[in-house]
Protein backbone atom coordinates (compact mmCIF):
# COMPACT_ATOMS: atom_id res chain seq x y z
CA UNK A 1 0.00 0.00 0.00
CA UNK A 2 1.03 3.58 -0.48
CA UNK A 3 2.01 4.51 3.04
CA UNK A 4 5.75 4.13 2.58
CA UNK A 5 8.14 6.73 3.87
CA UNK A 6 10.36 6.53 0.78
CA UNK A 7 11.93 9.86 -0.16
CA UNK A 8 10.67 9.92 -3.75
CA UNK A 9 7.32 9.17 -5.34
CA UNK A 10 6.43 5.48 -5.67
CA UNK A 11 5.95 3.99 -9.12
CA UNK A 12 2.65 2.18 -9.60
CA UNK A 13 4.10 -1.02 -10.95
CA UNK A 14 2.40 -3.38 -8.58
CA UNK A 15 -1.21 -4.41 -8.14
CA UNK A 16 -2.14 -4.04 -11.77
CA UNK A 17 -5.18 -5.81 -13.15
CA UNK A 18 -4.88 -7.67 -16.45
CA UNK A 19 -8.36 -9.19 -16.74
CA UNK A 20 -11.51 -7.35 -15.97
CA UNK A 21 -15.23 -7.55 -16.50
CA UNK A 22 -16.89 -4.37 -17.74
CA UNK A 23 -20.62 -3.79 -17.74
CA UNK A 24 -21.17 -0.50 -19.56
CA UNK A 25 -17.80 1.16 -20.06
CA UNK A 26 -16.62 4.34 -21.71
CA UNK A 27 -13.14 4.23 -23.26
CA UNK A 28 -10.92 7.25 -23.80
CA UNK A 29 -7.20 7.78 -24.28
CA UNK A 30 -4.63 10.35 -25.32
CA UNK A 31 -6.19 13.33 -23.59
CA UNK A 32 -2.77 14.92 -23.08
CA UNK A 33 -4.14 17.07 -20.29
CA UNK A 34 -2.03 20.06 -19.34
CA UNK A 35 -2.52 23.68 -18.38
CA UNK A 36 -1.72 24.81 -21.92
CA UNK A 37 -4.90 23.19 -23.28
CA UNK A 38 -7.61 24.62 -21.05
CA UNK A 39 -10.53 23.72 -23.34
CA UNK A 40 -9.44 20.09 -23.46
CA UNK A 41 -9.25 19.98 -19.68
CA UNK A 42 -12.65 21.65 -19.30
CA UNK A 43 -14.29 19.28 -21.79
CA UNK A 44 -12.85 16.26 -20.01
CA UNK A 45 -14.02 17.52 -16.64
CA UNK A 46 -17.44 18.16 -18.18
CA UNK A 47 -17.51 14.60 -19.53
CA UNK A 48 -16.75 13.30 -16.05
CA UNK A 49 -19.65 15.37 -14.75
CA UNK A 50 -21.93 13.86 -17.40
CA UNK A 51 -20.96 10.25 -16.80
CA UNK A 52 -20.57 10.37 -13.01
CA UNK A 53 -22.84 7.60 -11.80
CA UNK A 54 -24.26 7.06 -15.32
CA UNK A 55 -21.55 4.82 -16.74
CA UNK A 56 -20.51 1.70 -14.91
CA UNK A 57 -16.87 2.19 -15.83
CA UNK A 58 -14.49 4.77 -17.24
CA UNK A 59 -11.43 3.19 -18.85
CA UNK A 60 -8.50 5.47 -19.69
CA UNK A 61 -6.09 3.74 -22.07
CA UNK A 62 -3.02 5.86 -21.53
CA UNK A 63 -1.71 9.39 -21.95
CA UNK A 64 -4.26 10.99 -19.67
CA UNK A 65 -1.60 13.65 -19.14
CA UNK A 66 0.75 15.39 -21.54
CA UNK A 67 3.57 14.39 -19.20
CA UNK A 68 3.97 13.26 -15.60
CA UNK A 69 7.05 14.11 -13.59
CA UNK A 70 6.13 12.07 -10.52
CA UNK A 71 3.38 11.92 -7.92
CA UNK A 72 5.12 14.48 -5.72
CA UNK A 73 3.71 17.10 -8.12
CA UNK A 74 0.36 16.40 -6.43
CA UNK A 75 1.68 18.00 -3.27
CA UNK A 76 4.01 20.50 -4.94
CA UNK A 77 3.56 24.22 -4.46
CA UNK A 78 4.78 24.84 -7.98
CA UNK A 79 8.15 26.51 -7.62
CA UNK A 80 10.12 28.02 -10.45
CA UNK A 81 10.77 26.16 -13.66
CA UNK A 82 14.10 26.80 -15.38
CA UNK A 83 12.32 27.98 -18.54
CA UNK A 84 10.28 30.53 -16.62
CA UNK A 85 6.88 28.92 -17.18
CA UNK A 86 4.85 27.98 -14.16
CA UNK A 87 5.01 24.21 -13.57
CA UNK A 88 2.51 24.74 -10.79
CA UNK A 89 -0.21 25.16 -13.43
CA UNK A 90 0.30 21.61 -14.67
CA UNK A 91 0.54 20.37 -11.09
CA UNK A 92 -2.85 21.89 -10.37
CA UNK A 93 -4.25 20.11 -13.43
CA UNK A 94 -3.06 16.82 -11.95
CA UNK A 95 -4.71 17.54 -8.62
CA UNK A 96 -7.94 18.72 -10.25
CA UNK A 97 -8.18 15.64 -12.49
CA UNK A 98 -7.48 13.27 -9.59
CA UNK A 99 -10.24 14.92 -7.57
CA UNK A 100 -12.69 14.79 -10.48
CA UNK A 101 -11.97 11.11 -11.09
CA UNK A 102 -12.42 10.42 -7.41
CA UNK A 103 -15.81 12.12 -7.48
CA UNK A 104 -17.14 9.77 -10.17
CA UNK A 105 -15.47 6.78 -8.49
CA UNK A 106 -17.35 7.62 -5.31
CA UNK A 107 -20.59 7.64 -7.34
CA UNK A 108 -19.88 4.03 -8.36
CA UNK A 109 -18.30 4.56 -11.74
CA UNK A 110 -15.24 2.31 -11.60
CA UNK A 111 -12.20 4.12 -12.94
CA UNK A 112 -9.49 2.09 -14.68
CA UNK A 113 -6.24 3.69 -15.67
CA UNK A 114 -3.54 2.41 -18.00
CA UNK A 115 -0.16 4.04 -18.41
CA UNK A 116 0.61 5.65 -21.76
CA UNK A 117 4.01 6.56 -23.08
CA UNK A 118 3.78 10.10 -21.68
CA UNK A 119 2.46 9.39 -18.22
CA UNK A 120 4.24 6.14 -17.48
CA UNK A 121 5.37 7.64 -14.17
CA UNK A 122 1.82 8.01 -12.84
CA UNK A 123 2.28 6.35 -9.50
CA UNK A 124 0.58 4.76 -6.55
CA UNK A 125 -0.36 8.10 -5.01
CA UNK A 126 -2.14 9.38 -8.09
CA UNK A 127 -3.96 6.09 -8.57
CA UNK A 128 -5.10 6.23 -4.97
CA UNK A 129 -6.08 9.91 -5.07
CA UNK A 130 -8.11 9.26 -8.22
CA UNK A 131 -9.89 6.28 -6.66
CA UNK A 132 -8.75 4.33 -9.70
CA UNK A 133 -7.33 0.92 -10.42
CA UNK A 134 -4.28 0.47 -12.57
CA UNK A 135 -4.53 -1.72 -15.65
CA UNK A 136 -1.68 -3.75 -17.05
CA UNK A 137 -0.80 -2.99 -20.69
CA UNK A 138 -2.21 -4.99 -22.35
CA UNK A 139 -5.23 -6.20 -20.39
CA UNK A 140 -8.18 -8.29 -21.50
CA UNK A 141 -11.68 -7.10 -20.75
CA UNK A 142 -14.96 -8.89 -21.09
CA UNK A 143 -17.14 -6.01 -22.28
CA UNK A 144 -20.86 -6.08 -21.67
CA UNK A 145 -20.71 -8.52 -18.77
CA UNK A 146 -24.15 -9.12 -17.35
CA UNK A 147 -25.08 -10.28 -13.88
CA UNK A 148 -28.52 -11.71 -14.57
CA UNK A 149 -28.64 -13.86 -16.52
CA UNK A 150 -24.90 -14.28 -15.98
CA UNK A 151 -23.21 -13.71 -19.28
CA UNK A 152 -19.61 -12.97 -20.17
CA UNK A 153 -19.15 -10.15 -22.63
CA UNK A 154 -17.03 -9.43 -25.67
CA UNK A 155 -13.44 -10.52 -24.96
CA UNK A 156 -11.38 -7.50 -25.97
CA UNK A 157 -7.69 -6.70 -25.77
CA UNK A 158 -7.07 -3.25 -24.27
CA UNK A 159 -3.74 -1.51 -24.82
CA UNK A 160 -2.25 1.93 -25.08
CA UNK A 161 -0.91 0.94 -28.49
CA UNK A 162 2.69 2.09 -28.52
CA UNK A 163 3.99 -1.46 -28.04
CA UNK A 164 2.75 -2.34 -31.53
CA UNK A 165 4.65 0.41 -33.36
CA UNK A 166 7.36 -2.18 -33.83
CA UNK A 167 9.04 -0.56 -36.81
CA UNK A 168 10.02 2.40 -34.66
CA UNK A 169 13.09 0.74 -33.16
CA UNK A 170 14.54 3.75 -31.30
CA UNK A 171 11.14 4.33 -29.72
CA UNK A 172 10.86 0.69 -28.66
CA UNK A 173 14.29 0.94 -27.02
CA UNK A 174 13.14 4.05 -25.16
CA UNK A 175 9.88 2.33 -24.21
CA UNK A 176 11.69 -0.59 -22.63
CA UNK A 177 13.85 1.78 -20.63
CA UNK A 178 10.98 4.01 -19.52
CA UNK A 179 9.06 0.98 -18.24
CA UNK A 180 12.01 -0.55 -16.44
CA UNK A 181 11.43 -0.52 -12.67
CA UNK A 182 15.05 0.33 -11.83
CA UNK A 183 15.16 3.13 -14.37
CA UNK A 184 11.94 4.56 -12.97
CA UNK A 185 13.16 4.35 -9.39
CA UNK A 186 16.43 6.08 -10.29
CA UNK A 187 14.61 8.78 -12.23
CA UNK A 188 12.09 9.40 -9.47
CA UNK A 189 14.91 9.69 -6.95
CA UNK A 190 16.10 12.88 -8.69
CA UNK A 191 14.80 16.21 -7.41
CA UNK A 192 11.51 17.29 -8.97
CA UNK A 193 12.98 20.38 -10.62
CA UNK A 194 15.59 18.25 -12.36
CA UNK A 195 12.97 15.74 -13.52
CA UNK A 196 10.89 18.57 -15.00
CA UNK A 197 13.91 19.84 -16.87
CA UNK A 198 14.81 16.39 -18.27
CA UNK A 199 11.23 15.77 -19.37
CA UNK A 200 11.18 19.15 -21.10
CA UNK A 201 14.31 18.27 -23.05
CA UNK A 202 12.98 14.83 -24.01
CA UNK A 203 9.70 16.30 -25.24
CA UNK A 204 11.50 18.86 -27.39
CA UNK A 205 13.60 16.10 -28.94
CA UNK A 206 10.58 13.90 -29.53
CA UNK A 207 8.73 16.68 -31.38
CA UNK A 208 11.71 17.19 -33.68
CA UNK A 209 12.15 13.51 -34.51
CA UNK A 210 8.40 13.01 -35.06
CA UNK A 211 8.44 15.67 -37.76
CA UNK A 212 11.40 14.01 -39.45
CA UNK A 213 10.03 10.44 -39.47
CA UNK A 214 7.84 9.06 -42.22
CA UNK A 215 4.27 8.83 -40.98
CA UNK A 216 3.84 5.07 -41.43
CA UNK A 217 6.58 4.38 -38.91
CA UNK A 218 4.43 5.92 -36.24
CA UNK A 219 1.45 3.62 -36.84
CA UNK A 220 1.09 0.11 -35.49
CA UNK A 221 2.22 -2.78 -37.65
CA UNK A 222 -0.54 -5.26 -38.60
CA UNK A 223 1.71 -8.23 -37.76
CA UNK A 224 2.26 -7.00 -34.21
CA UNK A 225 -1.48 -6.48 -33.74
CA UNK A 226 -2.31 -9.92 -35.12
CA UNK A 227 0.27 -11.53 -32.87
CA UNK A 228 -1.05 -9.75 -29.77
CA UNK A 229 -4.66 -10.72 -30.52
CA UNK A 230 -3.71 -14.30 -31.33
CA UNK A 231 -1.71 -14.62 -28.14
CA UNK A 232 -4.57 -13.20 -26.08
CA UNK A 233 -7.08 -15.44 -27.83
CA UNK A 234 -9.35 -12.53 -28.76
CA UNK A 235 -10.85 -11.08 -31.94
CA UNK A 236 -11.47 -7.57 -30.66
CA UNK A 237 -9.08 -4.87 -29.60
CA UNK A 238 -9.18 -1.23 -28.47
CA UNK A 239 -6.13 0.99 -28.32
CA UNK A 240 -5.04 4.60 -28.63
CA UNK A 241 -1.64 6.24 -29.07
CA UNK A 242 -1.56 6.58 -32.87
CA UNK A 243 -4.11 9.43 -33.07
CA UNK A 244 -5.73 7.68 -36.02
CA UNK A 245 -9.28 7.01 -34.81
CA UNK A 246 -10.86 4.23 -36.83
CA UNK A 247 -12.63 0.93 -36.79
CA UNK A 248 -10.62 -1.68 -38.68
CA UNK A 249 -12.44 -4.86 -39.69
CA UNK A 250 -10.08 -7.52 -40.96
CA UNK A 251 -9.45 -11.24 -41.11
CA UNK A 252 -7.35 -12.79 -38.36
CA UNK A 253 -6.35 -16.33 -39.29
CA UNK A 254 -9.30 -16.48 -41.63
CA UNK A 255 -11.99 -15.23 -39.24
CA UNK A 256 -13.39 -11.72 -38.75
CA UNK A 257 -11.67 -9.47 -36.23
CA UNK A 258 -12.08 -5.84 -35.25
CA UNK A 259 -9.69 -3.20 -33.95
CA UNK A 260 -10.91 0.16 -32.70
CA UNK A 261 -8.46 3.05 -32.44
CA UNK A 262 -9.38 5.83 -30.03
CA UNK A 263 -8.99 9.49 -31.01
CA UNK A 264 -6.64 11.86 -29.25
CA UNK A 265 -8.10 14.96 -27.65
CA UNK A 266 -7.31 18.55 -28.46
CA UNK A 267 -10.28 20.84 -27.98
CA UNK A 268 -7.92 23.81 -28.24
CA UNK A 269 -7.03 22.96 -31.85
CA UNK A 270 -8.95 23.93 -34.97
CA UNK A 271 -10.95 21.86 -35.68
CA UNK A 272 -11.23 20.46 -32.16
CA UNK A 273 -10.65 16.74 -31.68
CA UNK A 274 -11.72 14.26 -29.03
CA UNK A 275 -14.11 11.50 -28.13
CA UNK A 276 -14.04 7.84 -27.31
CA UNK A 277 -16.05 4.66 -27.40
CA UNK A 278 -19.05 3.66 -25.37
CA UNK A 279 -20.61 0.23 -24.88
CA UNK A 280 -24.30 0.71 -25.35
CA UNK A 281 -27.15 -1.63 -26.33
CA UNK A 282 -24.78 -4.53 -26.87
CA UNK A 283 -22.17 -2.89 -29.03
CA UNK A 284 -19.32 -0.41 -29.08
CA UNK A 285 -20.38 2.97 -30.41
CA UNK A 286 -18.50 6.17 -31.04
CA UNK A 287 -18.71 8.63 -28.18
CA UNK A 288 -18.75 12.11 -29.71
CA UNK A 289 -18.14 15.18 -27.62
Amino acid sequence: MANSAAPGPVPARTATIDRLALREPIFVSDLHLCAQRPRTLQRFLALLGEIGGNAAELVILGDLFEYWAGDDTLASEGGQAPGGEDPGADDRVGVEVAQALRRIASRNTNVYLMHGNRDVLLGAQFVQDAGAQLLADPAIASIGTQAAPARAGLATLLAHGDAYCTLDLPYQAFRRQARDAQFQAAFLARPLAERRQLIGQARALSETSKRQLAMQIMDVTPEAIAQAMRSAGVRHMIHGHTHRPARHDFLLDGAPATRWVLPDWDLDATPPRGGGLRWSAGELRTLSL
Partner: protein, 164 residues
Protein backbone atom coordinates in the same frame (compact mmCIF):
# COMPACT_ATOMS: atom_id res chain seq x y z
CA UNK B 1 -12.58 -31.54 -0.76
CA UNK B 2 -12.06 -28.20 0.93
CA UNK B 3 -14.87 -26.52 2.82
CA UNK B 4 -14.88 -22.75 3.21
CA UNK B 5 -17.03 -21.81 6.19
CA UNK B 6 -18.19 -18.30 5.36
CA UNK B 7 -20.55 -15.98 7.16
CA UNK B 8 -23.00 -16.72 4.32
CA UNK B 9 -22.72 -20.53 4.60
CA UNK B 10 -20.40 -23.36 3.59
CA UNK B 11 -18.82 -23.64 0.13
CA UNK B 12 -17.46 -27.10 -0.72
CA UNK B 13 -14.73 -27.18 -3.35
CA UNK B 14 -13.64 -30.36 -5.10
CA UNK B 15 -9.99 -30.11 -6.10
CA UNK B 16 -8.50 -31.56 -9.29
CA UNK B 17 -5.09 -32.74 -8.13
CA UNK B 18 -4.63 -34.72 -11.32
CA UNK B 19 -4.94 -31.79 -13.73
CA UNK B 20 -3.51 -29.08 -11.46
CA UNK B 21 -1.15 -30.87 -9.04
CA UNK B 22 1.08 -27.95 -8.08
CA UNK B 23 -1.80 -25.53 -7.74
CA UNK B 24 -3.79 -27.92 -5.57
CA UNK B 25 -0.77 -28.59 -3.37
CA UNK B 26 -0.23 -24.84 -3.03
CA UNK B 27 -3.89 -24.24 -2.14
CA UNK B 28 -3.94 -27.07 0.42
CA UNK B 29 -0.78 -25.70 2.00
CA UNK B 30 -2.55 -22.39 2.70
CA UNK B 31 -5.63 -24.24 3.94
CA UNK B 32 -3.59 -26.32 6.39
CA UNK B 33 -1.60 -23.31 7.60
CA UNK B 34 -4.88 -21.64 8.48
CA UNK B 35 -4.03 -18.81 6.08
CA UNK B 36 -7.59 -18.50 4.83
CA UNK B 37 -9.14 -18.33 8.28
CA UNK B 38 -10.64 -14.87 8.76
CA UNK B 39 -9.86 -13.70 5.24
CA UNK B 40 -12.35 -11.91 3.00
CA UNK B 41 -13.96 -12.32 -0.35
CA UNK B 42 -12.72 -8.80 -1.09
CA UNK B 43 -13.48 -8.43 -4.80
CA UNK B 44 -17.01 -9.31 -5.82
CA UNK B 45 -18.24 -8.68 -9.36
CA UNK B 46 -21.59 -10.20 -10.18
CA UNK B 47 -21.51 -11.67 -13.66
CA UNK B 48 -17.75 -12.27 -13.40
CA UNK B 49 -16.25 -13.75 -10.26
CA UNK B 50 -15.78 -13.51 -6.50
CA UNK B 51 -12.17 -13.29 -5.31
CA UNK B 52 -10.70 -13.87 -1.88
CA UNK B 53 -8.01 -15.41 0.24
CA UNK B 54 -5.58 -12.52 0.50
CA UNK B 55 -7.03 -9.87 2.80
CA UNK B 56 -8.23 -9.70 6.38
CA UNK B 57 -10.99 -7.44 7.62
CA UNK B 58 -10.11 -3.80 7.07
CA UNK B 59 -8.52 -4.73 3.71
CA UNK B 60 -5.22 -5.64 5.35
CA UNK B 61 -3.22 -7.80 2.97
CA UNK B 62 -1.74 -10.98 4.45
CA UNK B 63 1.83 -12.08 3.78
CA UNK B 64 2.17 -15.10 1.51
CA UNK B 65 4.72 -17.75 0.57
CA UNK B 66 6.47 -18.03 -2.81
CA UNK B 67 4.32 -18.05 -5.95
CA UNK B 68 3.23 -21.18 -7.74
CA UNK B 69 3.73 -22.16 -11.38
CA UNK B 70 0.75 -21.39 -13.60
CA UNK B 71 -0.81 -24.69 -14.70
CA UNK B 72 -3.45 -23.07 -16.91
CA UNK B 73 -2.30 -25.26 -19.81
CA UNK B 74 -4.16 -28.14 -18.16
CA UNK B 75 -7.24 -27.71 -20.32
CA UNK B 76 -9.61 -26.92 -17.45
CA UNK B 77 -11.83 -24.03 -18.43
CA UNK B 78 -13.08 -21.08 -16.42
CA UNK B 79 -16.72 -22.12 -16.46
CA UNK B 80 -19.39 -21.13 -13.97
CA UNK B 81 -18.60 -22.25 -10.40
CA UNK B 82 -15.07 -23.40 -11.17
CA UNK B 83 -12.29 -22.21 -8.86
CA UNK B 84 -9.06 -20.66 -10.20
CA UNK B 85 -6.00 -18.89 -8.89
CA UNK B 86 -5.85 -15.10 -8.91
CA UNK B 87 -2.55 -13.41 -9.68
CA UNK B 88 -0.92 -10.20 -10.89
CA UNK B 89 -0.20 -9.60 -14.57
CA UNK B 90 2.82 -11.91 -14.20
CA UNK B 91 1.45 -15.31 -15.28
CA UNK B 92 3.32 -17.24 -12.59
CA UNK B 93 2.61 -14.96 -9.64
CA UNK B 94 -0.30 -16.74 -7.92
CA UNK B 95 0.13 -17.19 -4.17
CA UNK B 96 -2.92 -17.48 -1.91
CA UNK B 97 -5.69 -15.53 -3.64
CA UNK B 98 -8.25 -17.50 -5.62
CA UNK B 99 -11.58 -16.79 -7.24
CA UNK B 100 -14.81 -18.56 -8.01
CA UNK B 101 -16.18 -17.93 -11.49
CA UNK B 102 -19.84 -16.96 -11.43
CA UNK B 103 -20.17 -17.00 -15.24
CA UNK B 104 -18.54 -18.83 -18.13
CA UNK B 105 -15.43 -16.67 -18.42
CA UNK B 106 -13.83 -17.94 -21.62
CA UNK B 107 -11.55 -14.92 -21.70
CA UNK B 108 -9.71 -16.21 -18.64
CA UNK B 109 -8.67 -19.46 -20.32
CA UNK B 110 -5.19 -20.28 -21.55
CA UNK B 111 -4.65 -19.36 -25.19
CA UNK B 112 -0.88 -19.11 -25.63
CA UNK B 113 2.21 -19.71 -23.48
CA UNK B 114 3.19 -16.06 -23.36
CA UNK B 115 2.20 -12.78 -21.71
CA UNK B 116 -1.52 -12.20 -22.06
CA UNK B 117 -2.21 -15.70 -23.30
CA UNK B 118 -1.35 -17.62 -20.15
CA UNK B 119 -4.76 -17.36 -18.63
CA UNK B 120 -5.91 -18.32 -15.18
CA UNK B 121 -5.43 -21.81 -13.77
CA UNK B 122 -8.61 -23.66 -12.82
CA UNK B 123 -7.94 -26.22 -10.09
CA UNK B 124 -11.35 -27.14 -8.74
CA UNK B 125 -15.06 -26.57 -8.73
CA UNK B 126 -17.79 -25.80 -6.27
CA UNK B 127 -19.78 -28.93 -5.46
CA UNK B 128 -21.58 -27.74 -2.32
CA UNK B 129 -23.07 -24.39 -1.45
CA UNK B 130 -23.70 -23.02 -4.93
CA UNK B 131 -26.49 -21.05 -3.28
CA UNK B 132 -23.87 -19.56 -0.95
CA UNK B 133 -21.78 -18.45 -3.93
CA UNK B 134 -24.90 -16.95 -5.49
CA UNK B 135 -25.64 -15.05 -2.28
CA UNK B 136 -22.09 -13.69 -2.11
CA UNK B 137 -22.00 -12.60 -5.77
CA UNK B 138 -25.07 -10.44 -5.17
CA UNK B 139 -23.88 -8.46 -2.13
CA UNK B 140 -23.61 -4.68 -2.39
CA UNK B 141 -20.11 -3.42 -3.18
CA UNK B 142 -18.29 -0.12 -3.18
CA UNK B 143 -14.78 1.30 -3.18
CA UNK B 144 -12.60 0.74 -0.12
CA UNK B 145 -8.95 1.22 0.70
CA UNK B 146 -7.90 1.79 -2.90
CA UNK B 147 -9.86 -1.23 -4.16
CA UNK B 148 -13.05 -1.37 -6.17
CA UNK B 149 -15.86 -3.89 -5.93
CA UNK B 150 -15.31 -4.46 -2.20
CA UNK B 151 -18.39 -5.78 -0.33
CA UNK B 152 -19.89 -3.11 1.89
CA UNK B 153 -20.37 -5.71 4.62
CA UNK B 154 -17.48 -8.13 5.07
CA UNK B 155 -17.87 -11.50 3.37
CA UNK B 156 -15.72 -13.54 5.71
CA UNK B 157 -14.15 -16.97 5.34
CA UNK B 158 -14.29 -17.88 9.03
CA UNK B 159 -12.25 -21.01 8.46
CA UNK B 160 -11.17 -23.40 5.72
CA UNK B 161 -10.94 -27.16 6.25
CA UNK B 162 -9.49 -29.92 4.11
CA UNK B 163 -10.72 -33.52 4.21
CA UNK B 164 -8.17 -36.06 5.37
Amino acid sequence: MVRLHTNHGVIGIELDAERAPKTVENFLKYVRLGHYDNTLFHRVINGFMIQGGGFEAGMRQKPTAASVENEATNGLRNTKYTVAMARTSDPHSATSQFFINVADNDFLNHSAPSGQGWGYCVFGKVVEGIDVVDKIKSVRTSRSGGHQDVPEEDVLIERAEADA
